[in-house]
Every structure is written in C-alpha cells, then in structure tokens.
C-alpha cells in the first residue's frame, strides 16, 4: 500500500497573521513551518505502517508551494515519510482552493496512491476543503474530520467526528481522508531523523510534468476572486443581569433563554 500525505508550508503559529491589502492575500512572510494539522496525517500514516494490519510500502509527503516549501517536506520526512514530492511552478501562484485541489489531484495521479491523508485544515487558509476537492478529481471517496482509523482486509474503519458524537464508517481504498487533530499525538522528530531528512529522495515537478492545464490554475485559472476583506463585525455587548435576588435572576435568565427557544 502506498500512502500519500498532503502537507503544506504555513506561517509559524507564533507569527501574527496579516492580510496584505494590495494582494488581498495572507502575508506569508516571516517564519514558516509545516502545517501542524498535517503532522497528524503523517502520524496516522506512520501508525498504519507500524500497526502491521496492512502492509505499507511507502509514505510519500506531497506538497504544492514555492521553493521554501521544501522545508515543510524536510520536516515531513523527518517525521517518518519515506520520500517527498514538490509541485512548484510560478504558474500556480494565486490558485484558489478549487485550482489548488485540481493541481494536487494531477500530482497525486502520477503516484497512484492507495490512500491520501491530509490534515483537516491549514493553519493559514483554514478552508477545510482541499481533501474533498482532491477526492472529487481523483474520483475517490472523501472523508473528513476523521479521529480514528483502523485497517483490516483492504478496508478502513473510521470514526468521523459528527455534531454529536461520531459516525463509524467503512471505506474501501483508494480514498482521501482528512484527519482531525484528535486522531493522535504526533511524535517529535528525533535528531537522527532530522539529520537524515535531506538524504531521503525529493522529486520536484512542474505543472507540465504532471499534465496540469495552465488555464485551470494560478490567478487566471481560479474562478473565485477576493473583492474585499473586512474584519468581522464587533459583537454586540450582551445583556447584564444584576444579581439582586437570586430567585429573580434565575427566572430572568430562564425567561431569556426560553424566548430564544434555547431550552
């Protein structure tokens, strides 16, 4: 079985996020790191490999991004992936979610994975949607918010977070699965793994290498455009009930909740 993990380079969690008013895109300058949500996907892949219920031949870390994204790949292989794949091309710049999903799907096609794992969201864009878009292009089932994963007999049994509790689902491979951060506690890369990261194979691909149609990616190929960015409206200040007589206060609170059909 071959597992591909989608990973992304994002601004480090400690960096104050800022929108560049000119490009209306996130300012991605400053310290960067591997998207923390993706470390859960790699860990999930490692646990499948080490669990022994399925034969995992290979874990491949896959990213699309500028040159600097190589660092995210180094971290991914330090965390256990066997090799990595980097799609990088000026033509991809400014791709929206749909275009990015298309490009990643084309890249993944060249690998024919049995399982694609990714984190449920990126720490910068926070769209939560890439998994579904990729799955659609690859014609594979898509599952999101997965918090438990067991493999047996060519099938995966999963627990997927639902509004109340979780759903238990079975899925046949190949599939695209985005995992929630509750799925596992990612390991730390050891110094030995860090020092060995650059020795693991890394392939760089351009759009042409994987047959990406130029007019379907980049700013031109994206069908959405950001027109304006505004901060969310400030919350209205709530109603403060002074507690003079506790019985009365409780009644007031109950009445308030009742009015809004909350109880």
């Amino acid at each position: 079985m071959k597992i591909c993990c989608l990973v992304k380079e994002v601004p480090d969690a400690a960096v104050q996020k800022r929108i560049n008013p000119e490009t209306k895109r996130l300012d991605r300058s400053g310290e960067k790191n591997l998207n923390p949500f993706d470390t859960h996907a790699i860990e999930a892949a490692m646990q499948l490999k080490e669990g022994g219920d399925v034969e995992v031949d290979e874990i491949v870390a896959v990213t699309m991004g500028p040159d600097s994204a190589v660092r995210a790949l180094h971290k991914a292989v330090a965390l256990g992936a066997d090799r990595s794949l980097h799609l990088t091309d000026g033509a991809l710049e400014g791709s929206d979610v749909a275009a990015t999903g298309y490009a990643l799907a084309k890249l993944l096609e060249s690998e024919s994975p049995d399982l694609v794992l990714l984190g449920q969201q990126s720490d910068d864009g926070e769209c939560y949607t890439i998994g579904a878009v990729v799955a659609d292009h690859l014609k594979m089932p898509s599952l999101t918010q997965v918090i438990k994963m067991d493999a047996a007999g060519g099938k995966l049994t999963l627990e997927r977070q639902a509004e109340y509790g979780y759903d238990t689902v079975e899925v046949e491979l190949p599939a695209v699965i985005s995992v929630g951060d509750a799925i596992n506690e990612p390991r730390y890369p050891s110094l030995k793994a860090i020092m060995g990261a650059k020795k693991k194979p890394l392939d760089t691909k351009s759009t042409a290498d994987v047959g990406i149609e130029a007019d379907r990616v980049g700013e031109g190929g994206s069908r959405t455009a950001v027109l304006e960015i505004n901060p969310p409206p400030a919350k209205e200040s709530g109603e403060i009930i002074e507690d003079e007589d506790t019985n009365e206060t409780v009644e007031k609170i109950v009445a308030w909740l009742d009015e809004r059909k909350l109880i």
Partner: protein, 381 residues
C-alpha cells in the same frame, strides 16, 4: 554574513521548543518544588537524541554542530533551567572530554551509554580551594600497581549523584614536572571503591538539577582511565570550559527569552487603571529594552558557536557571550518579576523560579570576573 539557520538547525530548534512546551513546562514547577531530578525527561530527551547532540553518529550521537546544540539548550532554558543544565552539563562538560581525548576503548566503553542519555556524565574540576583558581587542585592521583589511587574532594559537581550517573572526569595532581604541578584528567566511574557522592546542596535555584560534593578516599581506578596524555589536564579543562561557555551563554539567552515571554503575556492580561498594563509606557520600555538586548546577545552566542564550528578561535567571543548573557538573564528575570508585581513573588508563576535560576549564570563555569579576565587578556591587557 548569513543569518539563516540551516533546515536541520531550525527543525531541531522547533522540535525542542515543542518538547519544552508540551513535556517540560507542565512538570517544571513540581520538579523544582520537590527538588526532584527529571529522570523521565532525561529518558525522553535521550530518545529524541538531545543528550548527545554534537557527538558522532557511530556512538549514538547526533552528529550535529555546536550551533544546533546551543539552539537546543536555549529552547530548553526558555522553559526550565534545571532540565537544560542537566542536558548541557552532561554534554559539554561530562561527555565532551571523553569524545575529545578518549582512547578508542574509552570511547567505545562510554559514548554509547552517554550519547543516548542512558548514563550521565559529569566533570569534576571545582574544589573547596580551587574555584576560579581551578589550577589550584589539591586532589591527588598516584600510580600504584597499575591503578590510580585518588584522594581529595570536589565541590558543586553537576550530574554526579543521580541513579543514572555513569562517571565523573576529574582533574587531579599526578606529579611534579619542572617544579610545576602536573595535572591530569582521570575518568572515575560511579561505584569505584573509595568514591562517594555527598548529599545534594540546598540551592537558590536549579533545584531539579543534581549538584553535590564528591569525596575520594583511596579511590582506585585502572591506570587506563587516564584521559588523554598525562599532564595535559590543565590544557584540557581550559578547552572544555571554552566550549562550555557557549552552552551556558545559550542558557542566558533562553532564560531571558523565557522571562520576556512570560512578562509579555502577563502584561497583556493584567489590567490596572482600566487597561492592560502592557499599554503603560513604563512597562513597554522594560519589554522593549529586554527584547533588544536578547536579540543582540543571541547573535553573539550564535557567532561564538559558528566560530567553533568553523574551527576558528572562539575563546574571546564565547567569554564575551557568557559575560553579557548571564547579566542579561539576571536583569531580564528581575524585570519580568517586576512586571508581574506581587504575583511574580509567588511560586505559581514561572518568573519566580526564573529569577532564582538566573543568578548562577554569572557564577558557574567561570564567574563574570573570570570572563572579564579572559576577555581582557585576549585584548592584550
């Protein structure tokens, strides 16, 4: 001039940062309060490769450079000094002499145990009458029937008395050469007959780190435990202290940064006169001053590390770095306590521990006055 860290350096720094926050921070207060040695954390650091960062791969070390080591020490100290000094003393004082001057056999015996942190190493230089004047060693070692017979005492030795302490490398007078004391380094394994570790000291800080006096009474070890050449002891410990200073200086930067982290987050939360205290100019000035000094000191520490990695002379830079970072740590932790007001005097707040942990940095591995001597000498005085 290249200010970028390599991928490996960044990755290790980030890993240690995560480890310190997730695994060290939750237990640091308790370890300090109960004066408990951090056995579990040492095991974890060992499995991550943090107990043997600069030593060769073939012995289980990380094969990384001094800058990588300094980054790891800095990030640990940012959260807890006791854990950091345990790792740093083990690495740059304890294991380093064996790595640098050990025979193949000594390396084979010790490094595979020390690099993964299964056993701890320590360095016994200081004595009751030999601190700054470290050459004034009174401990003696005499060769008798193929064994060194050691008599004397060591003072303030880190990592020598834990359940996993493996050995201490000590300086001892092994004879006279041209009317001058001949000093040599000898490896004394824990459990050697006649080698006793005293009770741990009651310290101002570094409470979870193991510091004890050592006593040698007709202690016998094989002749082959001599480290390097007989009579090279003085030269060797000077070299060890040179390198050790980079680690201690990284501790100064880390501790100051940890204090600043706490001070900023507290100042943004704490309100007085209707606004967060971080909005007061007086508080902002403290934060700004400390942050500027941290950044400058950090560069000096990294430069000392880079000089060492390049094989350039680094004694001057390392002494300068140690001098300013120790003082910075003392000042930064004091300001951080000040910003916390009364809460800074209460042990529930990490800055309280940081303040107690800071002072040793102007004393250990050469006092400020000794650094000034080293620096002035290098400047031709």
């Amino acid at each position: 001039m290249d200010f970028d860290l390599s991928d490996e350096q960044r990755l290790l720094r980030d890993t240690v940062r995560d480890f310190a926050r997730q695994d060290v921070a939750p237990v640091a207060e308790e370890l300090d309060r109960t004066k408990s040695f951090p056995y579990e954390l040492v095991t974890k650091m060992g499995s991550l490769g943090l107990m043997g960062i600069p030593f060769p791969d073939e012995y289980g070390g990380g094969g990384a450079d001094t800058l990588t080591y300094a980054l790891a020490v800095e990030e640990l100290t940012r959260i807890d000094s006791s854990v950091a000094i345990t790792m740093a003393a083990h690495t740059s004082l304890g294991t380093m002499p064996i790595h640098l001057w050990g025979s193949d056999e000594q390396k084979r015996d010790w490094l595979p145990l020390l690099c993964p942190g299964e056993k701890l190493a320590s360095f016994g230089l200081t004595e009751p009458e030999a601190g700054s004047d470290a050459g004034n060693t009174k401990t003696t070692a005499k060769l008798e029937d193929g064994e060194w017979v050691i008599n004397g005492a060591k003072q303030f030795i880190t990592n020598a008395g834990t359940d996993i302490s493996g050995c201490v490398t000590i300086t001892a007078v092994t004879g006279d050469a041209d009317g001058r004391k001949e000093i040599s380094n000898i490896i004394v394994p824990n459990g050697a007959p006649g080698y006793e570790q005293g009770e741990p000291y009651r310290k101002m800080g570094w409470n979870a780190s193991d510091t004890r006096p050592l006593v040698f009474e007709d202690c016998r070890v094989p002749e082959g435990n001599l480290l390097g050449r007989r009579g090279d002891g003085f030269k060797q410990f000077m070299q060890i202290l040179d390198g050790g200073r980079i680690g201690v200086a990284a501790m100064g930067v880390g501790l100051a940064q940890g204090a600043l982290d706490e001070a900023i987050s507290y100042a943004k939360e704490r309100r007085a006169f209707g606004q967060p205290i971080s909005k007061f100019q007086a508080i902002q000035a403290k934060i700004a001053d400390i942050s500027a000094q941290i950044e400058a000191s950090r560069l000096l520490v990294y430069r000392a590390a880079i000089e060492k990695d390049r094989g350039d002379p680094f004694t001057l830079t390392a002494a300068q770095a140690k001098l300013i970072t120790g003082r910075l740590a003392v000042r930064a932790t004091e300001e951080a306590v000040q910003i916390h007001g009364g809460y800074g005097y209460i042990e529930e707040y990490p800055v309280c521990r940081f303040y107690r942990d800071a002072k040793i940095l102007t004393i250990g591995e050469g006092t400020d006055e000794v650094q000034q001597m080293v620096i002035a000498r290098r400047l031709g005085c």
